[in-house]
């Protein structure tokens, strides 16, 4: 009995410092950021005059600048496209590698290598590859390859293209939406920024190897006996994957979604080094705006407001995962 309490006490003493440090340096600072976002702190020296939700209101206004609304739109575009392409590509590569092909080790490393590179390097690389060129310089990078291959129709401005795909208010469908009271959906802030596709390509190039590794590990965990049993039962390869293997590796998909999802919501360095804010903020993201307004504009209160909103969005993604995983642990 005494030994148990002593063990417990020692373990508590060992953990307590980190609890205190996390309480102060994580939760304490989150609290302070939340507090700062409600103040008028807009220059280097702090000014803690309370202004309520003013900073948040300004973020969601279109005048003087609609930058934050553009950022939210871009984040949604980026997150959806990046998750889908990374997972599809990662899973595809994992399934191919799982066929025990020759030189599997080489391929596995080849696909994993991009993950070892810093986003800054990836960004600069892909900026050069996707740099579109102009009529005076001629096509550059990938556009040049397209041209040489006779695929000239595929050439476009990549991340310099400011086009936003959205439902125009005066289009037929836009008028219909307005008619049924959903006119808010016909807005340039609810749409797809085409320039963002370039960033998605770079990010997918970097992270799909990582999803591949996760899936490969999961696939290897499935006993061969099971597949053989399926084959004996007369299932085709496609059926085995669809009905047996994919359902079995679903937890990995969830983990991959969480890991990639929070990366994509916080993406910063890739955008900074690759595209910058882009034409009319076509490739801008909240983290970049947060950095810009805080450290260039010294508008600390507004930067804090963006940080809190980002925290909320990430929490929306993470908390259901945490709840479900703790529940699973309790059951187990």
């Amino acid at each position: 009995m005494r030994g148990v309490t002593r063990d417990r006490a020692i373990s508590f003493a060992l953990v307590a410092p980190s609890i205190i440090l996390i309480a102060v340096f994580v939760y304490g600072f989150i609290g302070f950021t939340g507090f700062a976002s409600l103040t008028k702190w807009d220059s280097l020296t702090p000014n803690f005059t309370f202004v309520g939700l003013h900073n948040y209101q300004r973020l969601f206004a279109t005048v003087p600048t609609d930058r934050f609304l553009c950022d939210l739109r871009n984040t949604v575009t980026f997150t959806v496209l990046f998750l889908v392409s990374s997972i599809v590509l990662g899973l595809g590569l994992a399934i191919l590698l799982d066929r025990h092909i020759k030189g599997e080790g080489i391929f596995r490393n080849l696909f994993l290598f991009p993950m070892a590179i810093s986003y800054i390097v990836t960004g600069v690389l892909w900026r050069w590859i996707l740099s579109p060129g102009s009529s005076q310089t001629g096509a550059l990078g990938l556009n040049l390859i397209f041209e040489k291959l006779g695929l000239g129709f595929l050439k476009w401005g990549w991340f310099t293209d400011p086009t936003i795909l959205y439902i125009h208010r005066d289009s037929g469908f836009g008028a219909f939406l307005t008619h049924i009271g959903l006119g808010g959906l016909a807005s340039p802030y609810i749409g797809v920024s085409l320039a963002m596709i370039s960033v998605v390509i770079a990010a997918t190039w970097q992270m799909s190897g990582y999803t591949m590794a996760m899936y490969l590990a999961a696939l290897r965990g499935i006993p061969t006996e099971m597949r053989e049993a399926d084959r004996v039962d007369g299932a085709s390869e496609v059926q085995i994957y669809r009905r047996v293997i994919l359902p079995m590796i679903r937890p990995v998909t969830l983990s991959a979604l969480i890991v990639l999802g929070h990366i994509s919501l916080k993406i910063f360095d890739l955008v900074v080094s690759m595209t910058g804010p882009g034409p009319a903020f076509a490739t801008d993201v909240p983290a970049f705006y947060m950095w810009d307004t805080t450290f260039r504009g010294n508008n600390f209160a507004q930067g804090a407001a963006i940080a809190i909103l980002l925290l909320f969005v990430v929490a929306l993604l993470i908390i259901p995962y945490l709840v479900s995983s703790t529940r699973r642990e309790v059951h187990a």
């Binding site: 060992l14 220059s43 020296t45 003087p64 579109p132 310089t137 595209t275 260039r296």
Partner: protein, 416 residues
């Protein structure tokens, strides 16, 4: 038992904190700590030249070069603010001349230098416009060491000679030249907008040209309204100019655009500050000329200065440092290395390259206005919103919306 627990606890705690803590230098000695963000290239060399002069005049003082590297001083300023408010100031620190002083709450933290200006005779060697720019709440707060100019129209001499054109001095001429260049399949204006501030920079020079020095300065004090039709004129001019730039401008920085188009003779002009001059020299490209941006001749300037905080640890050393910064010898040593011109009007021009010599002549003769994008005309919060509005305008070209947004930004920032 309890004692053992406490010792385990405290050991872990000490280990954790010792990771987080950095040592702060202590001890009283004859020191001079200079805080700046001049770390690399000509800037770092220029600062070292100032240190050498100081060391010669005041031997025995140990100079501590406290630089914090990073983009236009953004990191340094954050560190500095913490040190000022935390009561651990350096002896002297770098400060953009102009409204930047506002954010340091100068009446509380910075030493006013009015008597220093009088005793050193600085009010006689700086241009009048600069002196009024340096004053905030009726006092001088810093000693400027260098001047950069933002509103220069750089042009490619070979392209202009081939097309038998003269560099434009009015906007009518500018667009005539543009048309002639386009007919020869040459891009009139090389432009890079990747960093998001370049449209704001170009627009600032157009605003100065259209509104004149007083009208432009009034925009930042509330004397000129942003709803003024002349602001719309300036926006329309900018829109027309940007329509004739390289289409891939969003992929390039200013130096990228120069490298891709200007020095390859595919583009004819660029509007940028005079740091371009150093870039041309580094690229060994000599076929360039410069003019003021079309319109009346006005000097759009930005300047670095040094200020001394109240309660500087070694006050006498700090004041001696300001003397070196403001002196003829100091400015003559620093500026040729930095690629800027001296704030004083009595420095020997023969020390400088041809561009700087012409800028020095303009410095003494033209009206001087502060640059907004480079932190001299308005506080940074306003300057950041301004640049964002212009970045959107450069793509969308909606004059009415941009003017409304600029007006709103002015209302927000003048009210406070």
């Amino acid at each position: 038992m309890i004692r053992r627990l406490i010792s385990v606890f405290s050991i872990v705690l000490v280990l954790c904190f010792s990771l987080a803590l950095t040592t702060c230098g202590g001890g009283k000695s004859n020191k001079l700590e200079i805080f700046s963000w001049w770390t690399v290239g000509g800037e770092g060399e220029g600062l070292k030249a100032l240190f050498d002069i100081y060391q010669k005049q005041y031997p025995g003082v140990q100079i501590v070069n406290a630089t914090v590297a990073g983009g236009a001083g953004t990191n340094a300023k954050a560190v500095l603010a913490t040190r000022l408010t935390g009561g651990k100031p350096p002896d002297a620190f770098q400060l953009h001349a102009g409204l930047e002083v506002e954010k340091y709450d100068p009446e509380k933290y910075i030493l006013p230098l009015d008597s220093f200006y009088a005793s050193e005779g600085l009010d006689k060697v700086f241009p009048k416009d600069l002196l009024s720019l340096l004053q905030y709440k009726g006092h001088y707060w810093g000693v400027p060491v260098n001047i950069h100019r933002a509103n220069i129209l750089w042009y490619n001499k070979k392209v202009f000679a081939d097309a038998k054109l003269q560099p434009p001095t009015t906007w009518d001429e500018y667009f005539k030249v543009s048309k002639a260049l386009k007919a020869r399949k040459i891009i009139p204006l090389a432009f890079g907008s990747k960093d998001g501030y370049e449209a704001g920079h170009t627009f600032e020079t157009v605003l100065i040209s259209v509104l004149g020095p007083d009208g432009y300065k009034g925009l930042w004090t509330g004397a000129t309204k942003w709803t003024d039709p002349k602001v719309a004129d300036a926006l329309n001019l900018l829109k027309k100019m940007l329509a004739d730039t390289n289409t891939d401008n969003a992929a390039l920085t200013w130096d990228g655009a120069l490298g891709q188009y200007f020095i390859t003779n595919k583009a004819a002009m660029m509007i940028m500050g005079d740091w371009v001059n150093g870039w041309f020299i580094s690229q060994n490209f000599m076929d360039y000329g410069w003019e003021c941006v079309p319109g009346p001749k006005i000097f759009d300037g930005l300047s670095d200065s040094f200020a001394v905080p109240k309660g500087a640890p070694d006050m006498q050393n700090a004041m001696n440092w300001l003397k070196v910064c403001g002196s003829q010898a100091g400015q003559a040593a620093f500026n040729p290395l930095k690629g800027s011109i001296a704030a004083r009007t009595d420095v020997d021009p023969s020390l400088f390259n041809p561009y700087s010599q012409s800028a020095m002549k303009d410095w003494t003769s033209e009206p001087i206005v502060p640059s907004v994008v480079h932190g001299a005309a308005a506080k940074e919060k306003w300057a950041t919103v301004y640049k964002d509005i212009l970045a959107t305008f450069a793509t969308k070209g909606d004059v009415e919306a941009a003017q409304k947004a600029l007006d709103q930004a002015a209302t927000d920032n003048l009210a406070m």
